[in-house]
Amino acid sequence: MVKLAAAERLPVVARGMGSGLAAGSIPMPEGSLVISLTRMNRILEIDTQNATVLTEAGVITATLQAEVEKIGLFYPPDPSSIKHSTIGGNIACNAGGPRCLKYGVTGDYVLGLTVVLADGSILKTGGKPIKDVTGYDLKGLFTGSEGTLGLITEALLRLVAKPQFARTALAEFDSLADASKTVNAILSAGIVPATLELMDQTAIVCIEEAMKLGLNTDVEATLLIETDGSDEQTVLQEAATAAQICEQQGARSVKVAQTPGERNNLWKARRSISPALARKAPNKLGEDITVPRSAIPEVVQRIREISENYGLPIVIFGHAGDGNLHPNVLFDKRDPEQWAKVEKMVAEIFAVSLAVGGTLSGEHGVGLLKRPYLEQALGPVSLQLQKQIKQALDPLNILNPGKMFPV
């Protein structure tokens, strides 16, 4: 199909389950060919000796996880869309998730890829060896390329042993500033929790309205902390230490989930924040800035100032442990004045992130939405080099055109 498209100069847009948050799979010019990979959904091989899985691109990430967990293996990346996004899409956007703090992002698990290139030829790169410095790291190049360099059709992924024990705690704070300082206090104490998630008050209120889980809605922020591992004592000890640090930093209360049901509820809450915000306002724009974690308290403060200056609410939540925050601006797009404000606010949020040494996007990607800011983030030399790479791999510019690069 890609050969045909190349002959006809037809733009080709790869699509998984369409859960992306940067409009990466929206076909740009009218008359693009959208190739949905959802029916390429077979898991081809689970190699227990080498701890790898070979899978087609359309397999739903949660399905893949469940399959490998049946035999005691573990695929850690866990974007919130885990039940409605595909492995191919996860790789194309180098998806993250809460557990990345301890386990790393999708790209850290990609050992090999099968990719259909712009001329229709098929590239197989990488393999089961963990180490491989033979030539350039092409799998790294395609990971996070958002369908602009090739269509990922198969992936060989690295697995790890499944942690046997986990402990989840919810710490509630009367002050958002205290909560954001606590993130560093925990990590500096030598504990690496699997996840360390921050949610502000608006986020909690929205979840509670949508899910009715019985969360306290009068706190200014909560941290969701999970420790995991294969030694129960260590897991419990780390959770207890993290809880203690929260209290020292001014937490109002720390609750530890006692049953799997309670733990599931906490995670259900966290996973549904982004969509639940839609109850608060007709539109929301979710950003994905990632900053050095030491800068979190400052960035949180600056974002609140931006919100106050423009008079539009910004909800803050995210994977605070790895510096990845999702400030969501709530607004009504039908009001042109509000939309104009939102554009300015987003530019300021990006500026704040870049000023402290952060980046535009940690896990969502550039897609359509962040194109205008790419040069500001990368600098001219890097941007030029990236354009040359695109030119080399897709000289006809038929693969997901109009994405990533500023027009």
């Binding site: 389950m17 369409g18 039940k83 409605h84 007709p282």
Partner: protein, 423 residues
């Protein structure tokens, strides 16, 4: 669009705020089988929106996507924004019927289904087929195998049809056994009366046994769900008004039904007639009294059954009970009252069985795929009995069991309770 402006159609708020997050894709039975966007709740919402905005023609193709929805309502439950894609698909069928009314639907849903005598006459050949031993002969001679697969599956749906419809057998008032403590109404659904008479007899016995005087009016008509499913809203409203008036003759604490589908529709009468000034309050009062039988039994003190049911039993959640009425713990707890009964939870117990009323006829391939998955889950429990309080689900499960060569009995949960009471 001007031609739409005079129609009854979904409000803008029913679709506008969809943020296309895709959560609904993970729970939709039709999406899981087709894996195409148009067969997903998000896709249907997008189609409905563009159709109503006038950006897309309300073509047969678009309408077909609304009919391909099984109405299981799993998307309604999961949508974080609060959109009900399942309800929207139903409303779109109604929009289509207003633009282009279909004659056969009017005949079927207006002329046949709401008229009990005609329904009884229409099922007469089926009764003969079973009563005269033709069915047995058919099976014994292996003729069933000659049927095309779909017909064979449809044939398998047929339960053993009662000699006389229960409507004609059940007395208007069944006295409470012992002291009368409750005055309840019973809504006898069409399928229960025509096909599952023994179950509803059992239901009234269980109620009577627990102090209920049970009033079962003979002149109720179909609850309206079939007509609703095919966009015939005027017909639904007419049937609703009829049934409300029937029960206004009596002074009853509650109105009980043992059919999940009837229950879900009766509980919606208030909403369905909300814009009718003469009927809105009456419908609201009626709906407020409606209870599923398991829901009601869970609220009154029950006599402990002394008989035993020695079997491993699992339960399938009818969508019209779990999602439409949020009743799912009650039937499980009731069955657990029975000594000897070993209850096992089935994986994905609340996932649609693929019946959705008539999908085995209209969307055979998807319906059987969804059903076969249900059978894998059922088989994994090793249960000898699967209980489910919905005639549609029961018929579909029976088909699945036959298709997959399993040996599992399909039963209404209250029937098990009745057996344990041992009358």
């Amino acid at each position: 669009m001007s031609f739409l402006s005079n129609l009854e159609k979904p409000a803008e708020t029913d679709y506008l705020n969809c943020i296309r997050c895709g959560l609904c894709l993970s729970v939709c039975p039709t999406y899981r089988e087709y894996l195409t966007e148009t067969a997903s709740p998000r896709g249907r919402v997008a189609l409905a929106r563009k159709g109503l905005d006038g950006q897309l023609e309300l073509s047969p193709n678009l309408t077909e996507q609304m009919y391909s929805c099984f109405g299981c309502m799993a998307c309604n439950d999961i949508c974080p924004v609060g959109i009900h894609p399942g309800d929207l698909a139903l409303s779109m069928r109604h929009v289509q019927e207003q633009i282009e009314p279909s004659g056969w639907k009017h005949a079927l849903f207006g002329g046949l289904i709401p008229r009990p005598q005609r329904m009884e006459a229409a099922t007469w050949p089926l009764r003969l087929y079973q009563r005269l031993g033709l069915r047995k002969l058919f099976y014994a001679l292996g003729l069933r195998k000659l049927l095309p697969e779909q017909l064979r599956d449809l044939e398998a749906q047929l339960p053993s049809i009662p000699q006389r419809p229960l409507r004609r057998v059940l007395p208007e008032v069944t006295a409470a056994k012992g002291e009368k403590r409750h005055q309840v109404g019973f809504f006898l659904g069409c399928a229960q009366s025509l096909l599952f008479a023994e179950e509803s007899s059992a239901s009234t016995r269980v109620l009577a046994r627990n102090g209920c005087e049970v009033t079962t009016p003979e002149d109720v008509v179909c609850c309206g769900m079939p007509a609703r499913g095919y966009g015939q809203m005027d017909q639904v409203r007419e049937q609703a008004r009829h049934n409300i008036a029937v029960y206004e003759r009596y002074d009853l604490e509650v109105i009980i039904t043992d059919c999940a589908t009837c229950g879900s529709t009766l509980k919606e009468y208030g909403e369905i007639l909300a814009d009718d000034p003469e009927w809105a309050a009456r419908a609201e009062a009626f709906s407020a009294k409606v209870r599923d039988i398991s829901e009601y039994l869970a609220t009154i003190p029950l006599e402990k059954p002394t008989g035993r049911v020695e079997a491993r039993v699992t339960y399938h959640d009818p969508c019209h009970l779990r999602r439409a009425q949020h009743v799912w713990e009650e039937p499980r707890s009731l069955m657990k009252l029975i000594d000897g009964l070993e209850f096992v939870e089935m994986p994905e117990a609340d996932w649609c069985c693929g019946s959705a009323g008539s999908q085995l006829i209209t969307h055979y391939e998807t319906s059987t795929k969804v059903l076969d998955r249900k059978m894998d889950n059922l088989n994994s429990t090793g249960a000898q009995i699967v209980a489910s309080g919905c005639p549609g689900c029961q018929m579909q499960l029976t088909t699945g069991i036959q298709r997959n060569g399993l040996a599992v009995r399909v039963v209404h949960p209250i029937t098990l309770l009745d057996e344990a009471y041992g009358e």
